[in-house]
Symmetry: C2
DNA sequence: CAACGAAATCGTAGTATCCGAAACCGTGGG
DNA sequence: CCCACGGTTTCGGATACTACGATTTCGTTG
């Protein structure tokens, strides 16, 4: 039974981790000019739509605890990429927002991401991509 | 136009990272009795098939540099989960192999993984899972 | 045999990540 | 009105991941 095409890795979760690591390294390498870490890139990419978010929201988006984000946001703040402002309706919460320079960096991050996605998914049928998102959402929901 | 089901995240790569973080936390929590970190779990899961591997091979499987694995393997070694032996045909290389106790732990890891996968993918059509693997492989290949 | 390349380890440094505790604020009950 | 409770963020401390450069050992090629 020729198993050449199905090596030894039928586990979706292991393949998930491998793909994450591999893409992460490529992204960090292509964005080396920004001199940012993976976490900073991740945070910035999630803010790239320009909509301000609280620390908790951002933490849920990137998959980290709010405590973890504090140091990441500290660095982005020091570099002038984000600002922390008061929340309109809730004075406990802090609103994280992109500065103009942060917007430039975030756009660069997003274009790198979409470029990599385009390169990888060019020859694949749309059903595969749809299934990909379906499985990712199922995994995320089960792990929420 | 109800946007509840399509939040603001059409980026496959961002969804990938979120799912990875979310599943990683659940796995680490369910395997808390083993008292191992995510990297150790990842390495052990990749060794669970019982086939010995070199450090470089394992590094390619988990997505880390060989230098990164050294400390992880040190810990697994100290706990008696793996042994480092000489490679038959290449005396530079080191062969990493599971011990009986490592095999027990690896089996536990694998059963936790398959259980989580089963829970998440139960209601999904096989085509979705197939597309998931297809996209994952494409992303990994582009980033190799 | 001499030179070059590959494999793994070690030392060093920078982050990431989480936990517990504290400070601040919003909400509901007396 | 005041108070207790829960949510939000930050800080301090501890552990571990990760990478880079240098080193050692070994295979390979000329």
């Amino acid at each position: 039974m020729g198993k050449e095409s199905a090596p030894a890795d039928p586990s979706p979760l292991l393949a998930l981790q491998r793909a994450t690591h591999a893409t992460l390294q490529v992204i960090a390498a292509e964005l080396a000019s920004l001199d940012m870490t993976a976490s900073e890139i991740n945070a910035l990419a999630n803010l790239a739509d320009g909509r301000p978010r609280t620390v908790s929201e951002l933490g849920a988006a990137v998959g980290s605890r709010p405590t973890t984000l504090t140091s990441v946001l500290d660095r982005l703040d020091r570099r002038g990429h984000i600002t922390r402002g008061p929340h309109a309706g809730d004075r406990r919460a802090v609103v994280v927002e992109l500065t103009p320079s942060g917007r430039t960096a975030a756009d660069q991050v997003r274009s790198t991401l979409t470029e990599l996605e385009r390169r990888a998914l060019a020859g694949l049928p749309p059903e595969a991509v749809a299934g990909f998102h379906q499985v990712l959402q199922a995994l995320t929901e089960v792990s929420s």
